[in-house]
């Protein structure tokens, strides 16, 4: 750093460092900023040295976190300075202070370009770094060709080319269209021949990005990749500086492997549909690839050196992955069987994607060397387990390896080992092998590192099944008392779920949960004890046992409030079953519960009151003493400040004095309808690492609990069940806020049903600020979360469900294939009509439903995300420019996207090219040019289809290019109006009709509807306040701009009918406009303004035949004014 010469800067920095506190620092900074401002403003200008110094100071102040909002000009101007120190600061400050959308960057582009194409390589490097760091659209457009040239030029030094490759990668990631495929793929292949490993590593990164975007074009690079790998692994032909602990450039090896994997995965995926499998055509290449991989697999051994281990393992894992792929796809074994299950494919991809994301997070934490390992360690096992099911030996080797990992001391490795083992759980075969390590995993629960504890918990949760459930749950319970507070809630939740799922018998389950509440009451959410209540209610044999247990716990001196709640509830319901046992008479139970009353909070008191009422009811014959006691309590709470308590007290008091009638009202709770445990749902929500856990969830679904007592089988066939029912239906003791949160939940969900009840979609997460939403700006879009979120089958509770769009001729509801169909969200019709009035909005939105076959009994719905079509339009005279925003909210791309416009004769519509695939979580814009040829009411239809998974989705949508879009409001005065109106006499230029069945609208509402259709309502032209005059201009290609005049006469006594007269210079226009307005007035599904209902009084008071004269107020005085004149003309 060239600070040595700048005394002012170092003095300033040391001043700042010497500041005692923030306030002093701020004062110093403000003073300096004032100084800089004065200097920059100085007319005499600055010497380059001063400029440099002050810009450095600015940067330093900016880095301290203060707002620097001036001086960017100076910074940018430094870029063009001839000397290195000045140029350097110019570039650094520009890239840190400005963002890609900054106007000032335009000033810099030319200088940057000069630097890039110049001969000075240090300047080239600076410029490339800056371009890479900012990487905006404008930079990409104007500089990408130069960067490309630099990358392939042979005259440049490797240093520059390396930077050029990375810069291009960066530009490409932001704007994928900057690299045009034609021709570049060959260049890319040439690049792989590069001898310099630095350049090669950078280009390989670039290649990985390019390939994942468009793999077919770069297929030719594959042999080159193999050759590179060969060169590295077999020939060890690399310079000394690129070996890392004796391993030839592990980074490059890894990225080559990754690249090849990506190649295969993508290629295989697209080809699979055609039942065509790729092979590497050249057998030599294939053989050499296998050879290299074998070599890597065999040659890796564990040594002492950590760094070496990391590096070699990174390569090993990557090689394993590639090997696995090759075996599956290119090898001679029977690959067909693997492809039958198409579901797998998506899973793989999602998981890999999610992994890469997850890895990124993790990587930040790790050291560089470790990065390699953790990066690479993620995918191979996945791939292995996905595709090497048959190779059991391999699997057990893997698990053995992982077992070794989780036993080592190094926490990072342990973490990865546990994590990977969790992932391996997806494969059923390995379970038994993993179980061998159970003891080791349990030890990991006591690890000092909480992230390892969490992983261990996840793994235990995942590996639990009927055989080891008891051990694991007991272990968890034991661990609970010593566990971290941060983990306790999750731990208790998981223990509860496992206990429920794998309970060998029901009493054990009740035992476990009660123990759980006892040990970690604070961390046991309400859901857990609700579930117990539900279980006990549904299982009659369990009731006495549970009640007895609850009674036991009540005897303990200090029990948690949750325990009070659950015991009170259970005893209230079932204490009569214990009546014979010692200490269980109603009176004793009552006093045991009542003892706890002073210690509990207001949410528990209602439960206790219910319990008292129940006890009272069960006491037959009534015990007057007990009754008196309970009544005293009730009357005490009758004036409680808490409404819930008060109401209960009053009601129970009134009810219990009714005697026998009480029996019917307070009878035992009926059985709950069987449903999926809310706990599992909660656990899923709680899990951050969604993709990671999807596998576990999958498995969790496979193992249907044998403890579940199913009252009916609905839950097993994928029919949605209500999550909220537990709170919505019964349990009188439910506190208010739980109920409300349930309702909220259901409102948040966009629920939708099909008549046959096979399908439901949910949006279980709050709207996320996603890409699409950002781009579409004002459009209200509910974001759906990533595709990897396995959402629960949810209920058609019908509470807030969006009404299903009626099968409407115009809005064609896509015809689905029975189970895998697509349903739009919201009413297409409504959206269309809204868009007729607005210029931007959402035209269509659908959830994309995908079924993952988990087991024959459970079909999980992957309620993944929406395809969304938004529209933004601009209209000028007869021309229109629409932009279709096709948004894919999935985490995997949509394929075979096709959009076809079926224009009516009067419209000329040109749709620009719609890309075949919409990348994941991306939005594609398709501009659409519309020209109006002649007036017509017909509507253009967009036929849109795409493919997700194996299912085609097809949507036909009306485009909101309707008549009124070509209208432009015009105000006419009385002088203009009347001659025009008179000159257009009679049909076909002037048409009149009585319209009946109009929705009753007040005149003001009608006027506002007209205004929204671009018709100007001319006030005061008509003396009759019940009449409306409107004017507009119509634009089309065939006729000149045409003035249209409309007159509406309404009947104040009957708003459902009106007489309409339309006049224009063109007969078709008159007719079409008339029909158009009629349509709008008669049948707008949703009015833009809520209709102000005017109570129709005495309909038919006015004769309304077309021939009948208009009844005008016969005011002789009015004859002189223009309105009256008009009336006469009519």
């Amino acid at each position: 750093m060239a600070l040595s010469g700048m005394r002012g800067l170092s003095v300033f920095i040391s001043d700042i460092r010497n500041c005692q506190n923030k306030e002093q620092e701020r004062l110093r900074v403000d003073k300096e900023l004032g100084n800089i401002r004065t200097r920059f403003k100085n007319e005499k200008g600055l010497t380059p040295y001063e400029k440099k110094k002050y810009v450095w100071k600015m940067l330093y102040i900016y880095m301290l976190g203060y707002d620097v909002d001036f001086g960017h000009m100076e910074a940018v101007s430094l870029i063009s300075a001839p000397k290195y120190p000045e140029k350097q600061v110019g570039y650094i400050v520009t890239s840190s202070l400005l963002n890609e959308n900054h106007d000032f960057l335009r000033l810099a582009i030319n200088t940057v370009r000069n630097d890039i194409i110049g001969r000075n390589e240090t300047f080239q490097c600076l410029a490339l770094t800056m371009v890479g760091n900012i990487g905006g659209r404008e930079f990409a457009e104007s500089l990408a060709p130069d960067v490309q040239k630099l990358l392939i030029s042979s005259s440049c030094r490797p240093l520059v080319r390396k930077k050029a490759a990375l810069c291009l990668l960066r530009l490409f990631r932001k704007n994928p269209d900057v690299v045009n495929v034609d021709g570049w793929s060959d260049r890319m292949a040439q690049l792989l021949d590069e001898r310099d490993l630095g350049v090669l590593t950078s280009s390989m990164s670039l290649l990985v990005a390019l390939v994942s975007n468009n793999h077919e074009a770069y297929w030719s690079c594959l042999p080159k990749c193999v050759k590179t790998l060969e060169r590295l692994a077999r020939n060890q032909d690399i310079p000394q500086e690129y070996t890392y602990y004796g391993i030839p450039s592990p980074w490059l090896q890894v990225s080559v492997c990754v690249c090849t994997c990506v190649f295969f995965l993508l290629f295989v995926k697209t080809m699979r549909a055609l039942q065509y499998f790729p092979t590497i055509e050249d057998p030599n290449t294939r053989r050499s690839l296998f050879e290299v991989l074998q070599r890597i697999l065999m040659g890796t051994d564990v040594v002492k050196n950590v760094n070496k281990n990391n590096a070699s393992h990174a390569v090993l894992f990557e090689a394993l992955a590639l090997h696995a792929l090759l075996v599956v796809y290119c090898g001679s074994s029977n690959p067909l069987s693997d492809f039958v299950e198409t579901n797998h494919r998506h899973k793989t991809k999602n998981i890999i994607k999610a992994h890469l994301d997850a890895q990124k997070k993790r990587i930040l934490k790790e050291r560089t060397a470790f990065k390699l390992m953790s990066f690479s360690a993620s995918s191979p096992f996945k791939l292995l387990v996905m595709h090497l099911d048959a190779e059991n030996e391999m699997m057990s080797q893997c698990v053995a390896l992982l077992g070794k990992f989780i036993a080592v001391r190094e926490p990072n490795i342990r973490y990865l080992g546990l994590e990977n083992m969790t992932r391996m759980l997806m494969v059923t075969d390995v379970h038994d092998i993993i179980k061998r390590h159970q003891a080791q995993i349990i030890t990991s629960l006591k690890d000092p590192d909480i992230s390892i504890r969490r992983r261990a918990l996840d793994l235990l949760y995942g590996m639990c099944d009927v055989s080891n459930a008891k051990d694991i749950v007991e272990e968890l319970l034991q661990y609970l008392s010593t566990a971290d507070f941060a983990m306790r809630e999750e731990l208790s939740l998981k223990a509860a779920i496992l206990a429920e799922k794998f309970a060998p018998d029901l009493s054990w389950y009740v035992d476990v949960i009660l123990q759980l509440i006892d040990k970690a009451g604070d961390f046991v959410s309400d859901d857990i004890w609700f579930r117990v209540v539900q279980f006990v209610t549904n299982n009659e044999d369990l009731q006495p046992y549970a009640a007895a247990k609850a009674r036991e716990y009540l005897d303990k001196p200090a029990i948690h409030e949750t325990m009070v709640k659950v015991s009170a509830y259970l005893l209230g319901e079932y204490s009569h079953l214990l009546a014979r046992r010692p200490g269980c008479s109603p009176k004793e139970i009552f006093s045991a519960i009542h003892e706890k009353l002073p210690t509990v909070s207001t949410t528990t008191i209602p439960i206790l009151l219910s319990t008292y009422a129940k006890i009272l009811m069960h006491t037959q014959p009534p015990d007057p003493e007990l009754q008196k006691h309970v009544w005293a309590i009730f009357s005490k709470y009758e004036s409680c400040i808490d409404v819930e308590i008060q109401q209960r007290a009053i009601e129970y008091f009134a009810l219990s004095s009714k005697g026998a009638a009480l029996m019917d009202i307070l009878a035992e709770m009926p059985k709950f309808p069987e449903r999926q445990s809310a706990l599992i749902k909660k656990a899923e929500v709680a899990e951050v690492d969604t993709a990671e856990q999807s596998a576990i969830k999958l498995r969790a679904q496979q193992h249907m609990s044998n403890a579940l007592v199913v009252t009916d089988q609905r839950s097993s066939n994928g029919t949605p069940q209500s999550v909220g029912q537990l709170s919505l239906v019964k349990i009188p003791s439910m506190s208010g806020d739980v109920g409300s949160s349930c309702v909220e939940h259901t409102t948040a969900d966009q629920e939708l049903s099909q008549p046959n009840g096979t399908l439901a979609t949910v949006d279980p997460q709050p709207p996320s600020a996603d890409l699409l939403g950002d781009l579409l700006g004002p459009l209200a879009i509910e974001g759906l979360p990533g595709a990897a979120v396995l959402s629960e089958p949810n209920a058609v509770s019908g509470l807030e469900g969006v009404p299903i769009p009626a099968d409407d001729a115009a809005a064609i509801v896509p015809v689905g294939k029975d189970t895998n169909s697509v349903q739009p969200i919201g009413n297409i019709n409504e959206r269309f009509h809204a868009l007729c009035l607005k210029d931007s909005g959402v035209l269509y939105e659908d959830p994309n439903i995908q079924f993952v076959k988990a087991s024959p009994r459970t079909a999980l719905i992957l309620a993944s995300n929406i395809l969304q079509i938004g529209i933004k339009a601009e209209w000028r005279a007869q021309h229109g420019r629409l932009v279709l925003f096709l948004g894919n909210k999935n985490t995997f791309p949509l394929f075979s996207v096709q959009a076809l416009i079926l224009p009516p004769v009067h419209l000329k519509i040109e749709l620009s090219l719609v890309p075949e695939t919409i990348p994941p979580r991306a939005q594609v814009q398709c501009p659409l040019e519309v020209m109006n040829l002649h007036p017509s009411r017909d509507v253009a239809v967009l036929d849109f289809s795409y493919k997700f998974g194996t299912n085609m989705a097809n949507v036909k949508l009306r485009l909101p290019a309707v008549l009124n879009k070509f209208l432009q409001p015009i105000t006419v005065s009385a002088e203009e109006f009347f001659p025009q109106w008179r000159s257009l006499s009679g049909p076909p230029l002037k048409l009149q009709e009585v319209v009946r069945g109009v929705r009753p609208l007040s005149l003001i509402d009608m006027a506002s509807i007209f205004t929204s259709f671009q018709l100007t309502v001319c006030q005061g032209l008509d003396p009759n306040p019940n009449n409306l005059i409107a004017s507009t201009t119509f634009y089309s290609e065939s006729i000149r701009p045409m003035l249209c005049l409309i007159r509406i006469e309404t009947d104040p006594t009957d708003r459902t009918q009106l007489r309409m007269t339309v006049a224009s210079g063109d007969p078709t226009l008159t007719f079409e406009l008339m029909e158009f307005i009629k349509e709008q007035l008669v049948g707008i599904p949703t009015a833009p303004h809520p209709p102000a209902p005017a109570p129709p009084a005495a309909p038919g008071a006015q004769p309304n035949t077309p021939a009948a004269p208009v009844t005008q107020p016969t005011n002789p005085a009015a004859l002189s004014d223009p309105g009256a004149l008009l009336a006469g003309l009519l």
């Binding site: 300096e32 004065t38 403003k41 001036f70």
Partner: protein, 442 residues
């Protein structure tokens, strides 16, 4: 007696604990961490002196570079707590020789602990009077009980001192020259609109005394306030003198003032403590003589250029005539944040642009009455990237001191000293008016 503190902490500006004293067990020792993280490290510092975090209330006050934090968990008397802090600081100052800052605390470590033990007990404030405490908590060495020489000083009787009728004064004081100093110090708070309308104005004043008197003198103070004059005219059954009478609000007296006599005779009579003390405090809201009038005119020209013209007209009321001077007048004229260049012309004093506080600071050391110095300044702004919201125009602030002038017009009519021995005393009376928050909107 109200609880004032469960614990007292002294922190430096970085948040390190210099000294702390826990008086009760109801707050944890680590509560100060909560203060540090929730108040000191956020922007809320200085916005509100009382904050509640996690069931504890924090009262804090900054004095030079020390934060004094009082932590209580019970329902404490806030005013009492703050009064305690103020008094304690005054006490420390008198012990440390006037300075109270981080260094003073570090240097007087032991002494402070000793004092903290003395001035508060189990959260209840105790005697904070420096005069009395200095008798027992001394900074000198302690004489060994075995030393042969008998003490020539009488051993002070603490119990009598604290519980006696005149707890604030020791008996047997002898001065060669009996002197009384009396200062009336007033600070003027003003908020004026740019058009010159007074939006808010009040004066807070203090009567400070310093007594070097022998024996047990009885003092009587007469001011030209309304109640006192009315009473006097009643007693002497003659009409009140023409001339201005002042209406004092919120008068508070030192504990030495005999309130029963004040209530019956409306005169301030007292047996003063020895040395310095604050006799009374008062507030005046009506009939304030403003020492300065400021007439600013500020014009913003264009988007980046702004010309600031400030014309300052100062009018000293004719009560004192042109012979008086104001000292240390500082006028802070705010300028926008993006100020790059300033130029001024002043008819007297000197002006400077201070970027750290975004103000032009105009200083006039000696400001004669009945004069009208002006300053015109032009400020150039630098262009910025972001379109800033328009400048908020903070008010012009002023600092000054005008000796021998009271903004309220309060005068001392008489100060009588009566003692058994009937010695002669010399009385000195001074007046001074300072600026409190003297702000003029522009």
């Amino acid at each position: 007696m109200p609880v004032a503190a469960s614990a007292v902490y002294f922190l430096n500006l970085r948040g390190d604990v210099l000294i702390n004293r826990l008086y009760r067990d109801d707050v944890g020792g680590n509560m100060v961490d909560a203060f540090r993280t929730h108040i000191m490290q956020t922007k809320e510092l200085g916005t509100c002196p009382v904050r509640q975090i996690g069931g504890c209330s924090f009262f804090y006050m900054r004095i030079s570079n020390v934060y004094i934090v009082i932590v209580v968990s019970s329902n404490a008397n806030v005013a009492c707590a703050f009064k305690f802090v103020v008094e304690a600081v005054a006490l420390f100052k008198s012990y440390f020789g006037g300075a109270f800052d981080e260094d003073a605390i570090r240097n007087n470590f032991v002494l402070i602990y000793e004092l903290l033990d003395e001035i508060m007990d189990f959260g209840y404030p105790q005697n904070l009077s420096p005069e009395i405490l200095k008798l027992y908590i001394t900074q000198e060495g302690v004489r060994s009980p075995f030393s042969s020489k008998p003490t020539d000083k009488p051993v002070p009787n603490a119990t009598l001192q604290v519980t006696g009728a005149v707890g604030w004064r020791r008996e047997g004081l002898v001065y060669k020259k009996n002197e009384v100093f009396l200062d009336i110090v007033e600070s003027v708070n003003l908020l004026m609109s740019s058009k010159g309308n007074v939006l808010r104005c009040d004066v807070t004043g203090k009567v400070l005394m310093k007594c070097f008197l022998s024996g047990m003198p009885d003092l009587k103070l007469g001011l030209n306030d309304k109640i006192g004059l009315e009473k006097e005219s009643q007693l002497k059954s003659r009409p009140a003198k023409s001339g201005k009478t002042i209406e004092l609000d919120d008068v508070t007296f030192h504990q030495c003032v005999n309130l029963t006599r004040f209530n019956s005779e409306k005169t301030v009579s007292f047996v003063p403590p020895d040395g310095e003390f604050e006799l009374m405090k008062y507030r005046i809201t009506e009939g304030v003589n403003l020492p300065f009038r400021v007439l600013p005119t500020i014009k913003e020209l264009g988007r980046t250029r702004m010309e600031v013209n400030v014309k300052t007209n100062v009018q000293v009321k004719s009560v004192f005539g042109a012979k008086m001077f104001a000292l240390g007048v500082v006028i802070k004229i705010p300028v926008p944040k993006q100020t790059a260049k300033t130029s001024f012309q002043v008819s007297s004093g000197r002006a400077k642009y201070n970027a750290a506080i975004d103000c032009i600071v105009w200083k006039i050391r000696k400001f004669p009455g009945q004069t009208e110095p002006t300053m015109s300044a032009e400020v150039e702004l630098i262009s910025t990237m972001t379109e800033k919201k328009s400048w908020t125009r903070p008010p012009i602030q002023m600092e000054f001191q005008v000796p021998m002038f009271t903004a309220s017009g309060l005068r001392v009519r008489f100060l009588k000293v009566w003692e058994k021995s009937g010695y002669n005393t010399v009385e000195w009376v001074r007046y001074i008016t300072k600026a409190g928050s003297y702000e003029i909107r522009c």
